[in-house]
Assembly symmetry: C2
Homo-oligomer: 139 residues x 2
């Protein structure tokens, strides 16, 4: 794991949460992006070497909508940047961590991603992410 790439935060409405986080972090939202495959609109803020990613559901039965219905708005996942997502998936699976997708899939922000099941990570939804086009073959 190279660093905390971003922290994902589930919110009901970007329209109100973007200005809230601009005030809190004292920095402007630099990008919004829809990820239709996940049923979310995302908004990004840079803080140091990491990002805050707000996640607004676009569909009533999307994972983020179900999360908010069950737990309310708040911290949803931690994403760690890795150099080689397939090697890292293999390493973690061999240690007993459960992967939520067998192969890397497309995420927001030009990333290949994989989630780990919270039951094997002390209740935390962990995302691995690798920049698309980043060098492969390294571990």
């Amino acid at each position: 794991m190279l660093k905390v790439e971003h922290i994902g935060i589930a919110v009901k409405k970007l329209q109100s949460s973007i200005p809230l986080f601009e005030q809190l972090l004292n920095t402007p939202c630099y990008k919004t992006e829809e990820v239709s495959s996940e049923g979310v609109n995302t908004a990004f803020f840079q803080t140091g070497d990491s990002k805050i990613e707000l996640l607004e559901p676009t569909e009533e039965d999307s994972p983020i909508a179900r999360f908010i219905n069950k737990k309310g708005e708040g911290m949803h996942h931690i994403a760690f940047e890795v150099e080689n997502i397939e090697a890292e998936m293999k390493r973690l699976q061999a240690l007993g961590f459960e992967l939520l997708n067998e192969k890397p899939k497309n995420g927001a922000d030009n990333k290949l991603i994989c989630f780990l099941h919270p039951k094997t990570t002390n209740g935390i939804l962990v995302e691995l992410c690798q920049e698309k086009g980043a060098s492969e073959g390294k571990s």
Copy 2:
């Protein structure tokens, strides 16, 4: 806000969670520290420019014990490093964010800290922290 200083994670037992996070993050725990004023034992891992802080309750009625009883193990707070905590507390209070302590208090890892109430931050417990002895007078 300078960066994500650490992400706080509530766990039942450091004894089992330290090896789990050493495997997950592929890095050793570099420090443990008891913060008796908060009723917690803490354990730290470095990942990039940020840390993961595990929080184990040492008392049955401590805030972390109550958090785990209510919500289970998992993400507890996000801590942002600031240059001047008193200036940042004033800035945020003026914007309507609610502070959980009126003056900076002592936290783990040689820090002055202040928490913001989750009701004003989309459900996230936000910690401001300043390294003790860090230069003051800057905003």
